[in-house]
């Protein structure tokens, strides 16, 4: 009987503590055991067991540096598959509502290797509205435009086998934003140019004043309300 080892993966993500950790890791950064333990609300030794399991399932990789062990998602495919799962996850409106009420997730955050959150959705909306991006065949096709250069995006000469700009469904918004190589380039550029900064001890990203100005100048995107963080 054919049975892809769903059960191993399912086992890995069937526990609330582990899902919490995975969500944390979806930020794309590497986290220590202790950090993930705190995120899941369990003791370090329990987190250690969970992480070993996630590692065995191939979802997470660990790297030892000094006395700390840094855990990271095993790859973009893992992040992508988890996104797919989130897309069919039952809508938990109550859960989502209370999360908003509690200040919730930042307006801007990283989703593995690209920008996510309401602001990322708004940016993608702007790309589509301005004709810089076209959605077809379930993928995004980038249209050459001067704006891309200003955003630090270098378009490939020819379309490759892998999608350059992949649509990614936002968890909280249930709307599309840009993932894939293009998403990575945008994140890299906005970080490098100081448009967005990583927050110290909180999740999410922060849009700086220059960043706000740049988005308004390049995309005519008014994000005054969004940047109130």
């Amino acid at each position: 009987m054919i049975t892809p080892r769903f059960d191993i993966l399912g086992q890995a993500i069937s526990d609330a503590s582990r899902t919490q950790m995975l969500c944390e890791l979806m930020e794309g950064r590497a986290y220590t055991n202790k950090e993930l333990a705190a995120a899941a609300g369990v003791t370090p030794q329990t987190a250690s067991a969970h992480l070993r399991l996630l590692q065995d399932a191939g979802l997470v990789v660990a790297e030892k540096r000094g006395r700390c062990v840094y855990h990271r998602l095993a790859g973009a495919e893992v992040a992508h598959a988890l996104e797919q799962l989130a897309a069919i996850a039952p809508a938990d409106s109550l859960h989502r509502a209370q999360q908003r009420k509690a200040g919730g997730l930042a307006q801007l955050r990283s989703c593995y290797d690209h920008l996510a959150g309401p602001l990322a959705v708004a940016m993608t909306r702007a790309f589509l509205d301005r004709g810089m991006l076209v959605e077809e065949q379930g993928a995004f096709r980038a249209v050459p435009a001067g704006e891309w250069l200003k955003l630090g995006v270098v378009l490939p000469e020819k379309t490759g086998r892998q999608p350059f700009a992949r649509p990614c469904l936002d968890w909280t918004e249930r709307k599309l934003h840009v993932a894939g190589p293009m998403g990575r380039q945008i994140l890299d550029h906005t970080l490098a140019s100081g448009w967005v900064k990583r927050r110290k001890h909180k999740r999410g990203l922060l849009l700086s004043a220059p960043g706000r100005a740049a988005l308004e100048q390049i995309l005519d995107l008014r994000c005054g309300a969004l940047a109130a963080a």
Copy 2:
């Protein structure tokens, strides 16, 4: 803290019996409780509990007809998400080997709503080799050709938002074959024209003599060895 309800889905697919059932349902057909119980190797009352859980998770829908209850996957998104999961599932070579040894899965079978298995992979290979299909941007683009009509495929006039021919990673082969609307059209046509037939009490599909002849004539596909079933 943001946490898409991975845990509900994970819970649903974390059990071997349930994964077995889901794999059965990936055929695309509807199955009764008893059939799924047999497939998973458990008693009907146990299967009943599992199916209720899968239903609550939104993965499966049930339809009562007479004294039987027919269970089906909740939709194409579910099938797609499961495929994605299978793509990152740890390779279980031992498992796969023993499955081949045991006669394994048919050379041809249905994967939710399209053809799958080695023969489907070979067909896709032929499409690509003959230039009828081009892989780009992570999607398949169909090139107008007379062969398509002979296969019962009607190409859309303009590219839509959803991919017409979506690549689907085969569980057993780990190679691509055609899913999406095109895949559905191909499956429908091959069934309607009697090229392939559903087996009575066994899983998988059977390639008929006319079907073999048609594939050889249209695609120059020699599938003598493949059809030995």
